[in-house]
Point group: C2
Chain length 159, copies 2
DNA sequence: TATGATTGCTTGCGAAGTCAACTATACCAA
DNA sequence: TTGGTATAGTTGACTTCGCAAGCAATCATA
């Protein structure tokens, strides 16, 4: 039946140890960081991610579709996420004059303030749970290694 | 109003570059790997993860709660995930004789077969999308760096 | 032995996100 | 101009998962 018994238990884990650790680290960190962000500012990790992108973008605005691709969310996902940020008054819609298909997501003044407020504590959280584990060189190294991984729709990615 | 303008756009990204890359890499890889696994075997990435754990466990069984902690899922999450695997006949419930609170999740013969079938193509996918990006040393290095990150409920973790 | 705390597990509910389907606009080519 | 295709965006149905609440069994302690 069983054509060939797979290697020992430990070997199975070894074969993709780094990938498994990436999975686990992501789950655990995401949960903890999201929890803190939610408690302190009422933002999910994705909300924050979108705010950073808009904050760093020229004119603090992006086409919704580019935003979706950057934070790796489906088009419908972005619609729904932005719905919340718009309801809170942190992001506004702005229609494109030259192409009626396009809508921009623009950070409002309130959104800028909200981001800057959340930014401080969130960076501290990342420092505590993530960055403090590595020296400067190690941090760069980790970023370089992770940067080699495929981002699927990488075409528009600007991170 | 704005007490202090935050550094330039690029600097904001720099401050947590590795973390952002971990987020993005996880999203993209997860989506691609899960898609392939689903298409080829009708399994989600988490389903697979649970199957690996059970396959590698002594007697191919684990207490449901330990399983949850290992794959970083809430207790209710494990109940629902296992529901699917049980319906498919790959996992069975086994009540503990010495402690009536405890239920084991046991891999059935069909489950073993299913895992071994999925294992082959999934490892190839991981190799293609993940492992092939790194040399042996780099892979170890990446695993080591990621291994330093906190796993929250790390108490029971055995990965 | 009785009582209170803890542990394992499940269920109701809600949040978040995907896919498929649809609309509207834009672009391209005959 | 018209017809076909691609792009931007939204919506509905569905899935997945966490939290809060609850139940049952166990353990600790008096």
């Amino acid at each position: 039946m069983m054509s060939q018994v797979l290697s020992t238990q430990t070997e199975i884990a070894q074969e993709h140890r780094a990938w498994i650790r990436l999975l686990r680290a992501h789950s655990a960190l995401t949960r903890e960081l999201s929890g803190r962000l939610e408690a302190a500012h009422g933002l999910s990790l994705r909300d924050y991610d979108v705010l950073v992108q808009l904050y760093s973008a020229p004119d603090r605005r992006m086409r919704r579709i580019d935003l979706a691709r950057t934070v790796i969310l489906s088009p419908s996902g972005i619609t729904r996420l932005l719905e919340g940020l718009e309801r809170a008054g942190w992001v506004a819609k702005h229609h494109c004059a030259s192409d009626a298909r396009v809508t921009y997501a623009v950070l409002t003044d309130a959104g800028v303030a909200k981001f800057e407020e959340a930014h401080v504590t969130h960076l501290a959280d990342i420092e505590e749970l993530f960055a403090s584990r590595f020296s400067g060189d190690e941090h760069d190294q980790l970023a370089e290694l992770l940067g080699r991984l495929p981002l699927a729709d990488a075409g528009t990615c600007n991170a």
